[in-house]
Symmetry: C2
Subunit: 234 residues, 2 copies
Amino acid sequence: MTAPPKAILFDTFGTLVDWRGGVSAALAEIGARRGVTADWLALTDAWRGAYRPSLDAVREGRRPWCVLDVLHRDSILALLPEFGAAALADEVAALVAIWHRLPAWPDSVAGLRRVHARYLTAPLSNGHVALLVGLSRAAGFDWDMVFGADVFRHYKPDAQTYLGACGLLGLDPGEVALAAAHNEDLAAARHFGLQTAFISRPLEFGAPDGRAKPARDWDFVADSVEALADQLGC
Amino acid sequence: MTAPPKAILFDTFGTLVDWRGGVSAALAEIGARRGVTADWLALTDAWRGAYRPSLDAVREGRRPWCVLDVLHRDSILALLPEFGAAALADEVAALVAIWHRLPAWPDSVAGLRRVHARYLTAPLSNGHVALLVGLSRAAGFDWDMVFGADVFRHYKPDAQTYLGACGLLGLDPGEVALAAAHNEDLAAARHFGLQTAFISRPLEFGAPDGRAKPARDWDFVADSVEALADQLGC
C-alpha cells in the first residue's frame, strides 16, 4: 500500500481547462470582429497540433529556451494563411492571449478547492508562470505554488520539471502525485517516481477516443477533479 | 504621477510575520520539553543576527547555493553552546522547522486578502518555496505565485530576485511594487526599477528603533498591510 501523497500537481491544458472549446470560441469572436470567417475548430486543432513539435524543438536543443507564448505566436502565424485567416496576423497578441483565459471544466474549481484544502496543490504545466497566474485568476483556481515551465526552463516530459517541482516543495517524488488527462504525462511522472492520477477528459479533443482511457494501472483513475477529491479523502 | 502597480510582492520575515515573537516562543517550548533553560530572546536575536552574514556568504560565492534551512541549521548549531543550550543540538530539525510556521502580524491576513483581490500578489523572500508554502498555509496567506529564493538560486538583494520575479510575472519592473519593512530591501527594489511600499513594523526587533522609519521617499508608506490596501484602493 503506497502512502498517500502530500502534494498534488495538476496538468492544466485539457486536464483543468477546455482549451479546444475556449480557443475556438475566442478565435470565432476575434474573426467576427474583423469580418473573417474560417473553420475555427480546425484551426484550433491545427494550432494544438503544432504544440508538441514546437516544445520538442526546445527540448531537443534545436531552438533556444522560450515561453509558450512565443511558440504559440510562431505556430498561429504559420497557420493563419492556410486557413484563409491571414488578415488576423495583426491580432497576433490577442490570439496568443487566448491561452491565458480558458474555461474550466465544470468540476475543476470545486474539485481543486477540496483538494487544496487538504493537500499542497500546484499546476505543473508547459504554460509559463504569467500565463498560469492569469488563467488561474480568471478561472478561480487557488494554489500553494505555480510551477510554470519557465521556473525550470524545461518542458514536460523533461525530468527537470517533475523532479524540480518535488525539489522546490521539499518532497520526495513518491510523496507527490501528478494529476493529468494524458497518459504520456503520467508515464513520465511515474518514471521519475511520482504517484499518478488519471483524470479522464473525453471531450478534450472533440469526439471521445482512446486517449481518454487510462493506458496503465495509474494510482488513481477518476473522471473529474471532484471524483479525484473523493478518492483522496477530501 | 506613477501608474499604479499591477503586482505587489511582499517581503515575508518581519514584514508579514513576527519572527522574533514566534521563534523565541517556539525555542522556549522545545527547551521546556527538554528541560533546558536559556535566554531564548537573546538566542533568537543572535540567530537572526547570523542571517545576513550567512546569506552574504552565498551571495559572494564563498559558499555554494543552499536554502535558508541549511543556513539556519548551521547558525543555530554554532550558537547553542554559547547560550548554554547545547543539549538541543539533537532537536536541530525541529529548531529549523520553527521558521516554517511563524505568527502573522495582526493585520497581515486581512490586508493581504484585500490586496490579493485586486492585484497579483506573491511573497518575494529569502525563504525557499517549501518554507514559504508551509508558512503561508499555516498563517492563511493566499498568493498568485510564490517567489522563494530557490526559484532564482539567489538571495535578495541580488538583481536576479527582483528582476526574476518581474520576468516570471511577465511585467516590467515599474509595473511591480515591493512591500517590505526594511529600507535596504526597498532601496534595492527601487534601484532595479520597482515601485516601493514601506510597511512600518516597530516591534520586529523588540524595542522600536530607527529601522521602523522610512529612510527615503518610498512610493507608499503604511503602518500595516491593511493601511497599504487602503492606499492601493482595495
